[in-house]
Symmetry: D2
Subunit: 392 residues, 4 copies
């Protein structure tokens, strides 16, 4: 009889795990809430888990941890995987795994169980972190090992008297602080978009709204002039912008296991924050800062997506990203419209465009025509020599 | 008396140059049409130039050349400077300069004149190419050298009897095959967006429209099923999509001379083509192809923007980009809406998502749970060892 | 009874495979000669293989193929893994695998067998290529599957009457056109260097010798003034330089399976060619060519090392590297000394240093002090503005 | 009459400046000692400067500052410009400029003067920093402005009664803590190496010597077991290794002004420290740490070389490099020989090679053959699919 931590979400897969593992082991169900569960959800989950036979249920509040450990770096780096996807789910899995290991070590568990299949990214993200931080823990994955179909899982649960409503919704939805993924049906094809109804947040408002985001050293610190904690502001902005059905798209990308995957998502706040933050950076960072942080941020996004959060290079890139935020403070003005938003402009003490220097293309107060010509003459040296030596 | 090629656009600056230079030299006005001039425009320009005293006027049709030399690589590389701007004007200046040099050498000119100021990017783009390809040619830039105000230029023209309408429009507009830039007024601030009326293409259609783009080895080869030359298709698509006021944005970036610049633009076709092309690539390219071509394309965009088109590294990057397009063939489905477009999906023989292999997260036909566990176990090796050696 | 292609080297592991597989299957032994085997070696191998019961033995001459497919790109890219190792063995495995697949398909084999263990890189390099190009072929790896010790293998061979001399040499040596690896004993520690005697090529000459390498578009085309095929020149140079015991070092790197590995090598010709080629490039390439080709070549080396030769990104990088060699023609002068060589200088028509332009630090014929000051003034713009806006 | 800070070295150029500027202005000569001057040198310089008429002379000791601000990051990044040059002079100029500005502001100077010509890198490095940090200061550069020849400078000095020995040595030598550059004669050609006698440190020892360097978080903290400050250890190591004439080479590179430059150097300690440090990193860092820090360090080296030390991206890269050194602690064993050194091995608590895991190619304790096969199978997925979809 093993002492097992079970990563529990209340869905079919983890319910099956809760039932069958509890028949032979001491199972402690843990739900890590990265922003997708409301208090009532957690109560329902607890009730269900206990009904299925687990020894205990624990909900870990992880939004702040999620923000501190991952989200703020995704903002610093303007990370959109494949120029599209804010890494909503990928990022959540990492912090869930980190907290599950911590919990397992806290209660002295022998094993960690999770409901991943053998065909996805999540098994890799979970297992990499479990094996790295706690190689002594056994990893138990009934769904992956037994290659069970939904029907078989339901049958097992029903035979045991657990007759919850397992009617599969058409779409598999994963909700969290940094976005909601929507998979299934059309996303399994290459050519079909998700229908309007597949997205959890329907269009509710059509009248344009102007808003203002305040950033301090790269972090969101105010919304429409009201200061607040970043996590609370993200939630507030998300509520505001989701009413405009903003932030919907489909991500097509390479999975860790080498196949292509396609998934819909809605992520109003993440997309708005990243694009606003990026605009502010254009005003306050040097050319090379922008260039190199973008290149390193693409690496950060790729490795995070692939579950390599614990590779020490991630700490190195975080150090670079954090350093790059020193002057990223100011306000960004935007307008919200149905299905889209517009970046209007910024205001910042560190704005490199608003200085006493010459304005682009208009006047040149700080240098003369002769200076400009000298600049260009010397800038042309390398090309002139190359041309001369190669056109003989 | 020198024989001068004058880069002529018919605007105030180049008209001033045409007038004053013709008073002492043999001036041959040349307009390189990268897509912004209609036949009637060119006729008007010719008439005006001759009236101002130039010895000859020549219009060079350069859309195909522009496409071959630059645009197709911008598509291959999905190049959006600072994730926003398709480099419309930057790219035009390059091909204009290349053709002006060619023309100067053809007629045995002593000098090339252009109307750039000393405060912008264009002087650098022009001069770098002139000095590299034809160091023997003098470069004459009256506006830069004399630091003239608009009023002074107008006065000179009027005194000489040329009383065209020089009333400055509020915005400076530059139109071409790869987009239209809109500068002035609000773009000189950091916080104001351009008003609706500043954009040349007003919203004309509101009913959504579904379209289909066909690509062959990375190049646009059909629109809604009709085959065509890329240049013609770009123009057709632009007409179609401009009616939805698609492709408007504001670019904030670093100029070659070290100050920040801000400019509005509308570029319906370029944005749609790049985003559609990028989506197709996500389906047909390997992870590392996408990653590295993106990084190299960012370099390509930066150097092109900075007038370094003749640096041989540009040819090297073009070779990489061209190689990466081998399997980028297929159809992309989109819908057009007021102010925005949606990517719906793709269809391609080379689609790496539609194969007999396992589907993401659903089934794993091609490998077993044990394979997946072995994969993860070995993938975890490096992290496990690192953790072990660093937590002693 | 299966028809099997066996990758055969004549060593203990593949001899064991030859014997045991032939007992039940039709085994066709194939040796791909990437430069390590002399004609007599191949005759001995054939005799031994037939004695062990294989149905046929075939030696494939692969030096030219090796050069064309891989080595020339390693030269173009100056590829030294971890700034040290010319990828001698990694590169060989790739071409061996490619030719083995070709051979298997030619004779309609059911399977490919090789003698790799489960602890190294070679299993990955072989299997990745076999599975990609010929997923229909079974892969048979007795040593990996049975986790046999040397003693068990020898016992099996002796029991079957094959009493060759299997006394293990202290070092495991792999020789080929692009270098010889030397593993074992000291290389299994982190702190010990290989003794003088571990290296196959002892120091034979002590008097310095001056030599001259000729390159044409990046490829070695002459040695001391004598033109020749690159492969022949590599061999000749290697003989010359090995007498000086040049090119010895120890490579420490990350294996594909996540552990660190350490291996000695001697590679006189590869190191001399790469360093001479790199020096020539410094004289003829633009700054950005050198910078970006180096970054892409590091990727190329990493992916080649990891067996990802068939990833299409490798073709893209090859296109970039090949393009970068357009002007890499000229002579390089070097001197050979015991254990080291010195790069003396180059001579090239494309040399960007020898032009009519100003000499570094000495005179400035092509520009004035005012030009230089204008250049610097404008180059300082961005920094000045940044300093101004951030020191308020 | 202006109050001028003169960057003074005691050479011909700055002596000319001292004399002529003092005739009209209040000149304060400042020598920033980055390791090249001995106490007696500084006394001689002071005497000479005062004789030439300067109002004051000040020597600023800058070795520690040099190390803290620049050298340690060059070690963290293993920075060798163009894989060769430790950036000895480039790095010195930066710290000299920083301290000169500080000094100018301290005494309330009106201007800074330096003896750079208009044909080199130093003018750019100095002026960029002066203009950025103190745009209010005038920059005075008599040698650049007057395009004087050596002979003219000597004549002026002699006429004024200053008859020092200005016989030009054949080579221009610049010595500092991080290496000595040797320019002139052969380095102005592309094909000639410097003769033995051109290098300041002749070969003095021929008997091999084994040494041990200790690193702590990337910084040199011991030599042959004796702890010490990094600066003192660098000097000690340099003395030890220079006796073997180690660290000589010729750097060929792109100057900031677009022409190619070639310069000899000797830098025994820098080369040994960098290569030893790099070897240690191979044992203790993850693959991705090594890969990305190398790419960013190449950027760091390029920008430092080009005088862009104050670009904020340099601080960002320093943050990444510093983060990457967390586990770079341990000992490195080397042997010194005439003209070369050998890296023997390392010993470190953080060594990722010495763990209880499987040894490369030998045994696999931590995983089974099945694990390896599963790993490879899934690693092959992407390639298999690509091959399948592209070979139809």
């Amino acid at each position: 009889m093993k002492k097992i931590i079970l990563a529990y979400s209340g869905g079919l897969d983890t319910s099956y795990c809760a039932l069958t593992l509890s028949q032979e082991h001491e199972v402690h169900a843990v739900s890590v809430n990265t922003g997708g569960f409301k208090p009532q959800d957690l109560k329902d989950m607890e009730k269900k888990a206990l009904a299925l036979g687990v020894s205990s249920f624990k909900a870990l509040e992880a939004k702040d941890y999620f923000y501190e450990k991952v989200i703020r770096f995704l903002v610093f780096g303007n990370v959109l995987r494949n120029n599209t996807y804010p890494l909503s789910v990928s990022a959540e899995r990492i912090v869930q795994a980190l907290l599950l290991v911590e919990q397992a070590q806290l209660i002295g568990a022998d094993a960690i169980a999770h409901g991943s299949t053998g065909a996805g990214n999540d098994q890799v993200r979970f297992d990499l972190i479990f094996q790295t931080l706690a190689p002594e823990l056994e990893i138990i994955t009934p769904i992956r090992d037994q290659s069970l179909s939904r029907e078989e899982e339901i049958a097992t649960l029903q035979q045991a008297g657990y007759d919850f409503d397992w009617s599969k919704s058409k779409y598999s939805i994963n909700q969290g602080l940094w976005g909601t993924s929507v998979g299934g049906a059309e996303t399994l094809t290459s050519h079909k978009a998700l229908p309007e109804t597949a997205y959890p947040s329907p269009l509710q408002k059509t009248e344009s709204l102007q808003i203002e985001l305040g950033f301090s050293q790269g972090e969101l610190t105010s919304l429409n002039g009201e200061q607040g904690e970043s996590v609370a502001l993200i939630e507030k902005l998300n509520e505001l912008a989701s009413a405009y059905a903003i932030g919907r798209d489909i991500h097509v990308g390479d999975t860790i296991i080498g196949i292509k995957g396609r998934v819909g998502f809605e992520a109003a706040a993440p997309l708005i924050i990243i694009k606003a933050h990026e605009l502010l950076e254009k005003h306050v960072q040097s050319k090379w800062q922008q260039f190199h942080k973008q290149q390193m941020a693409q690496v950060y996004g790729m490795l995070l997506h692939e579950g390599q959060y614990l590779d020490p290079v991630m700490r190195d890139i975080e150090a670079l990203l954090e350093s790059s935020q020193e002057s990223v403070s100011g306000k960004v003005f935007l307008s919200l419209h149905p299905y889209r938003f517009e970046l209007l402009g910024v205001s910042s003490e560190h704005d490199l465009m608003q200085s006493s220097f010459g304005q682009y293309g208009e006047k040149n107060l700080a240098w003369s025509a002769e200076d400009a010509k000298g600049f260009i003459k010397i800038l042309a040296n390398a090309g002139k020599i190359h041309q001369h030596q190669n056109s003989l």
